[in-house]
């Protein structure tokens, strides 16, 4: 995929509380993972927690990333709570 949309996925507590598994955002030039997070948080309500007290982890194309990492069309961006496996 290399179209103009970014797939955003949510896992675990975030998936449940946002009642959203997946959504698409438009890939603007120079966009970062943090920009997407801020944009979604600005929806208010439960979405505000994306910039709340609890840490949100970020992966781009299934690799851990940071808020400053840039995202582009076709990327899979994921937000989730700190992992608790094993």
């Amino acid at each position: 995929m290399s179209d103009n949309t970014i797939t955003v996925r949510f896992f675990a507590r975030l998936r449940e509380e946002l009642e959203t598994e997946e959504l698409n955002v438009e890939a603007l030039p120079g966009l970062t993972a943090g920009d997407v997070l801020a944009e979604l948080a600005s929806r208010g309500g439960r979405w505000a927690q994306l910039q709340g007290d609890q840490p949100v982890m970020i992966a781009i194309n299934q690799t851990m990333a940071k808020a400053g990492s840039s995202v582009q069309g076709g990327d899979e961006l994921a937000f989730f709570p700190p992992v608790t496996g094993g």
Partner: protein, 148 residues
């Protein structure tokens, strides 16, 4: 070999596969994590594990590759269960075979510690009809950072 599955696993079969994995093997270290009968909440009756398919396997393969750079690793096997688990069920298996004892222990413990803090699994504790997402423990993060 990395396997993510909802069913139980046979630690004995994993051990046998490690043992058969080739020449020079002198040491096999294994770790199995079980659901403890006492959790963060009173009266926990089970767990539910969610993961990020695809990323999980990729992260674990990265940990095995990293371990193989640091230590002699002839073969490593990781199994992690997802979905609904009962008390005392097996959750995770990590097994490493090596020519040397110290390498087998170190690589096995490194993979297990790093898996806890970097592989995308999330655990929910189930208490009767209530559910509760488990928060990451500081102690796990600290153990993993010991390897940096």
């Amino acid at each position: 070999m990395i396997t993510i599955q909802s069913g139980d696993f046979d630690a004995a079969a994993e051990y046998d596969a490690l043992r058969d994995s080739g020449a020079g093997t002198g040491a096999i270290a294994t770790f199995t994590g079980l659901v403890r009968d006492s959790g963060d909440l009173q009266g926990v009756t089970g767990l539910y594990l969610e993961h990020y398919p695809g990323m999980t396997e990729q992260v674990i393969q990265g940990l095995i590759d990293e371990a193989s750079k640091r230590w002699d690793v002839r073969e490593a096997r990781v199994i992690h269960r997802v979905g609904r688990l009962a008390l005392r069920d097996q959750i995770v298996f990590v097994g490493v075979c090596s020519a040397h004892r110290g390498d087998a222990f170190a690589a096995c413990e490194f993979i297990m510690d790093a898996l806890k803090t970097s592989a995308p699994f999330w655990k929910k504790e189930i208490t009767g009809d209530r559910e509760h997402w488990v928060e990451q423990k500081e102690s796990d993060l600290a153990r993993s950072q010991n390897w940096d």
